[in-house]
Symmetry: C2
Subunit: 390 residues, 2 copies
């Protein structure tokens, strides 16, 4: 990390990305992202910690059992509760929740758009009504940079509009241009402000353009030109066919700079992740492993398990010994089924830790295969396994 | 533990209780209970694992963080779900839920009586309707012994009637006599049957008699005469004034044999536990530390915290560093408040682990004070602390 002085008292270090291996038979890459809160080996999956907590998972479990290297926080949720005053008083989100490795925050845009009638988008930004107490708030590109500065994320996301699927071409095009104008405002404001705490922060711009190849190309070129330390692909995994997701991802990855990490937002199933690693994506996040966990859906190295099925009632084998980790090797399928059927919290806890352990195991395996030059064939076998319903 | 042969293939070891110290200024005792699943240092608090799970707490946390030495299971819940077939196929509850230290099961009576119109008590036993699927079931003293044999508890409780408070004298007296007749049937059946698994089980009878001193005396004498390896006091902590609870407990403890452990069922607050240790009780269980935890009520070494209070909003000190343990020293009050206010599962998890850690810390402190001969004065100071509202 280079270090430069900005102003009289604050100094900022840059985030660094080192590309280590490229798979010979696909576009898969292995690299290392270095932040002031430590290194991230890519490809990586980032557990989602919406309100400063990865739901149902202790911080110790995220670190020691799941072996996550970076987690997400949601700006919208954290801004409303506990609020910036509390987070700043704590010394930032890392200090507040006790997670001392890297954190990435989304811009809050995605949550705000989901509010439907309770939000209004203009060129200036978005006015929305809190889902908690009905109070009115304004998110602008500048404000969202300030908020993420205070939250103290290592990686800050640009304020964009995530278009729905399907999306009329005219809307997608206008929205993309607004996202680009907002990006300029984000960059200007970010570059003119300093970190609130004593570590560096970096800003990732986001490619939009819905499922229109020419818009995606135009957006990717615009984003690439900004020369930031990492780049993201947004607006996918919102209901479009997988073929479209893969086509847009490949098109965009081919344009985004090779020497910067690429983050595909909100993706996805184990299969999606493997396919998109093959297309050159380095970073992923998704609520699926934790959300589906709470309904008893398990992702394992042998396939998908609905633990509520009668077939697991007397299966006293461990959940998934292959991937290691406390919950996956200690608890049996029969016991876990009992907990989920009985709506016991421990069931959701075990499934959440297990699914995240599996996701991190999966990207670590992918990394090892990329380093060994065997990723492409392994990926095809693994996709068959992870899509099997047991 | 003595070992004798019963029948051709099964052998049973006896549970042992060794009384080590008696406090000079109170009736408090320190001892060691030895079972085939390990030793229990008394006085002890037993976390309640209703359906084979201490709610919201991983088995690893119960063992390593909370340092519990024995947990409870509820016969009623386990019998209905997962059911005896699954538990027996697993090899008993220890194997099913992965807890390899001692387990005590209640008799299911308390839960069954709580069903109100959905149960009918006769001399034979209780017929009740499942709260899960409405199916009809019969619990008799004999059946309940068989069920607890299959669950595989180290300590099995007699099938009794727990009278409500207030309770007419006539009802209390008749009920006590029926509980005594049921006890004889429990003992006959228990002594004629063998453990299902390869470790010993022991049966504790239960003193009843509501808040009538003469009935309590009569019941305690009857229970003492049975000469079992441990004895329990039931029918308290059901709404009666604390003075009555203490008076009945003292009266009964004075009659129950000194060389056998005494278990006060369903008690209680930290204050109740300290006062009843002073009266000669060795074992306790209560849902309070976990149930209240889920609403954000914390028991600490300095007093009671309602974590929802505004005053904790920016309190970045640990929950209770005094008692040690991961959650109590790692998470801050402000973060925990945020989790509970946001209804995040992790909030209930942290509060549950913390409260149980505190309860186990409290009885361990009591034990140390008894061994040092300083229990009585320490207890009076501690009662003041634990009843303070912070």
């Amino acid at each position: 990390m280079g270090v430069i002085r900005i102003g009289p008292t604050i100094f900022a270090a840059f985030m660094d990305f080192s590309l280590q291996h490229t798979d010979p038979k696909s576009k898969a890459r292995a690299g290392v992202v270095t932040t002031d809160h430590g290194q991230i080996e890519t490809p990586i999956f980032m557990p989602v910690g919406t309100a400063g907590t990865v739901k149902a998972v202790h911080q110790r479990e995220i670190k020691e059992d799941i072996a996550a290297e970076i987690i997400l926080g949601n700006t919208y949720h954290l801004y409303l509760r506990p609020g910036l005053e509390v987070i700043q008083a704590a010394g930032g989100l890392h200090k507040f929740n006790g997670w001392d490795r890297p954190i990435l925050t989304d811009s809050g845009g995605y949550q705000v758009y989901s509010l439907g009638d309770n939000r209004k988008i203009t060129e200036k930004g978005v006015r929305f009504k809190s889902h908690i107490d009905g109070s009115m708030h304004d998110f602008t590109p500048e404000r969202v940079m300030d908020i993420q500065r205070v939250i103290g994320a290592d990686i800050i996301m640009a304020f964009d509009e995530c278009t729905p699927y399907p999306c009329e071409r005219k809307y997608a095009e206008d929205s993309m241009h607004m996202t680009h104008r907002w990006l300029k405002r984000c960059i200007d404001h970010f570059d003119q402000t300093e970190p609130v705490y004593d570590y560096s922060q970096t800003l990732f711009p986001i490619v939009q353009g819905s499922t229109y190849p020419d818009l995606r190309r135009q957006s990717a070129e615009f984003i690439a030109e900004q020369g930031r330390e990492g780049n993201a692909i947004g607006g996918l995994s919102v209901g479009e066919p997988h073929e479209d997701m893969y086509a847009m991802t490949e098109l965009v990855c081919d344009i985004l700079p090779k020497d910067k990490p690429r983050y595909l937002m909100g993706v996805g199933t184990p299969e999606n992740i493997l396919e998109c690693i093959a297309l050159g994506v380095d970073m992923f996040d998704c609520v699926m492993p934790t959300r589906n966990a709470r309904n008893g859906m398990l992702f394992t190295s042998e396939g998908i398990i609905n633990i509520k099925n009668e077939r697991w009632k007397s299966d006293f084998s461990p959940i998934d010994p292959e991937i290691g980790g406390y919950v996956s090797t200690f608890y049996t399928r029969a016991y876990l089924r009992h907990l989920i059927m009985s709506k016991e919290m421990l069931g959701a806890q075990i499934c959440s830790v297990h699914n995240l352990t599996f996701y991190l195991w999966l990207v670590k395996q992918a990394r090892e295969q990329i380093k060994a030059g065997t990723f492409a064939s392994w990926k095809n076998q693994m996709v068959k396994k992870v899509t099997t319903r047991l």
